[in-house]
């Protein structure tokens, strides 16, 4: 039983740290992606009009 407790404790901490790091990256890069997405949609709709 103690094996599983230690296993889940280590698993929990590692995943939590990984997630915190990913959350920071996604928050910053995701914002840049949104700007890119709208620029691209503007461009695509502009091309369709032409």
């Amino acid at each position: 039983m103690s094996f599983w407790i230690v296993f889940w404790q280590i698993f929990f901490v590692i995943v939590l740290i990984g997630f915190a790091g990913m959350a920071v990256w996604v928050s910053i890069s995701g914002f840049q992606d949104i700007r890119k997405l709208f620029r691209r949609l503007d461009q695509m709709h502009g091309e369709k009009k032409d």
Partner: protein, 513 residues
């Protein structure tokens, strides 16, 4: 007095007027965005595929935003509450399998390469129109039934965390208000508003959940959480392979398939993100990164459910009497455990921010699911069956009507369904109506040249046997079998049907994609 009859049992919360204000402000911003991005919707590709222009980080955010909804938080917390830390195995298998799917591109990369908008569209390209229509019907049936309890469960969170009465009209009233909010901005904005609000939700919810975990650990004590679980639940509370608890080897295998493979590579709302990505290469990267959030979406709520259990056992005798009554007395629905715990543990303002994030999570899941099922009805059932081509305007209008109709159905289903299964198990079984057959057809269609239209058609129908896993259906038919076993047998059955059907009735002119 029976604690369950006391309407004030949930009222000891720190949720105050300022928290309502935070929630209202957040929701107003979401609806405003839904209205704002409406101008960018020019065609069906924009509406349901966001122009196929999502970058990796935004793809990860929107995939997480959709898949880490309030419903996920609630059913995972319920699993932690009833199954202890052994429930973490669901998170582990979900993360590992998602990573492997991303690494190999299994199913998702070839689908994206084909540039289809929906999975049934692939069925037509690979097989024929009738397979597409049947695929659309099965998907809608399983999917809509699957989301039938979302509205109720999400509303239970709000009632629990805000300390409203669990008896009377509070729950139905919250259900109606939430439904109206979701319908307004899904109908208006489509996938673009979904993507943007998913991103905002990702940011707020990610940091909100991390804060909630920190509060739970500092309130209850790290070691004490694990000690209390092993003391009250014994070995099954920590070892997922132990029999006698809620899990065991068969259940773990079922989770590898459902929480792992299906959640990321078969379930259409997740696959929709793959299909909206810039390229197959971005899809693979997106999946490898998302494996972390696929793990977290189960793990953190599991942990909060476990923390709620520990809190109730050690610090709240009134709640213990309601959730674990002496024999014969009615039990308070254990879905209330996590929100009530959060309401008592977190301070005002923090509670408002986390509640706003949770409601946002609720909305982002609903909008994606409503959009997904209704676009399948339009694109894969109605449009292929019509003799004349449907205009873009007609398709958008029909999709929006379907969104409203499905919304009304989930309100109705949430009010009448009385099954006793854990929500996650209910969802796995109802979803299996679609995904067991779909798994066989997708794998066969993409990787086996001899897979035929007849085999695919029969495999899709065979998925219907999964409904035997539901408690009320078993009661009706007078037998009992674990949902996990029914699900695994249905997977094997569908695969067998595909192989036998394809070999017996091969296509005259086999199609390749």
């Amino acid at each position: 007095m029976n604690p369950l009859q006391d309407p004030s049992i949930l009222s000891q919360t720190h949720f105050a007027a300022v928290d309502w204000l935070i929630v209202a402000l957040y929701l107003s911003i979401s609806v405003f965005i839904g209205l704002k991005v409406k101008d960018y919707i020019k065609d069906m590709g924009d509406y349901i595929g966001a122009g196929r222009a999502l970058g990796t980080a935004l793809g990860v955010a929107t995939m997480t935003g959709t898949e880490m909804g309030l419903i996920t938080v609630m059913y995972s917390a319920q699993k932690g509450f009833t199954g202890g830390v052994a429930a973490f195995h669901i998170a582990l298998v979900a993360g590992v399998v998602t990573f492997l799917v991303g690494w190999s591109g299994f199913i998702v990369a070839p689908l994206r390469k084909l540039e289809v908008l929906t999975i049934p569209e692939f069925y037509e390209r690979r097989f024929d129109k009738k397979t597409r229509v049947l695929g659309g019907i099965m998907l809608t049936l399983g999917g809509v039934l699957n989301m039938g309890l979302f509205l109720k469960v999400g509303s239970i969170f709000i009632v629990g965390v805000a300390g409203l009465s669990h008896t009377g009209w509070a729950l139905p009233a919250v259900m109606v208000i939430l439904l109206l909010l979701v319908l307004v901005y899904t109908v208006l904005g489509g996938m673009l508003s979904v993507v943007i609000t998913d991103y905002i939700q990702f940011v707020v919810l990610s940091f909100g959940l991390l804060v909630a975990v920190a509060f739970a650990v500092s309130t209850l004590g790290w070691g004490n959480i694990f000690d209390t679980v092993s003391q009250h639940m014994g070995r099954p509370g920590v070892d997922p392979l132990a029999e006698g608890g809620g899990f065991g080897p068969e259940y773990v295998l079922w989770m590898i398939f459902t929480a792992g493979l299906v959640s990321c590579a078969i379930w259409p709302t997740a696959v929709a993100r793959a299909l909206a990505a810039e390229s197959p290469k971005v899809v693979k990267k997106q999946y490898m990164w998302s494996s972390i959030s696929f793990m977290v979406r189960f793990m953190i709520p599991n942990f909060l459910g476990v923390a709620a259990f520990v809190y109730i056992k050690n610090h709240a005798p009134d709640l213990e009497a309601a959730f674990f009554p002496t024999q014969g007395e009615p039990t308070l629905d254990n879905l209330y455990a996590m929100p009530v715990f959060m309401g008592r543990m977190l301070p005002t303002v923090v509670l408002g921010i986390i509640s706003a994030a949770m409601i946002a999570a609720f909305m982002s899941t609903h909008d994606s699911y409503l959009l997904c099922w209704s676009s399948v009805i339009t694109q894969d059932i109605v449009a292929p069956l019509r003799k004349t081509a449907m205009s873009v305007k007609g398709r958008l209008k029909l999709t929006r009507i379907c969104i409203v109709v499905i919304g009304l159905y989930i309100l109705y289903w949430g009010l009448i369904y009385e099954g006793k299964d854990d929500i996650w198990d209910y969802m796995a079984v109802t979803g299996a109506i679609y995904f067991t057959g779909s798994f066989a057809v997708l794998v066969g269609g993409l990787y086996w040249k001899k897979a035929s239209s007849a085999g695919a058609f029969l495999a899709l129908i065979s998925g219907l046997t999964a409904i035997l896993g539901l408690g009320p259906v078993q009661q009706l038919l007078g037998f009992q079998m674990a949902g996990a076993r029914v699900g695994l047998l249905t997977v094997l059955f569908s695969l067998t049907v595909l192989v036998v059907g394809s070999l017996t009735f091969p296509d005259r002119e086999p199609k390749e994609v």
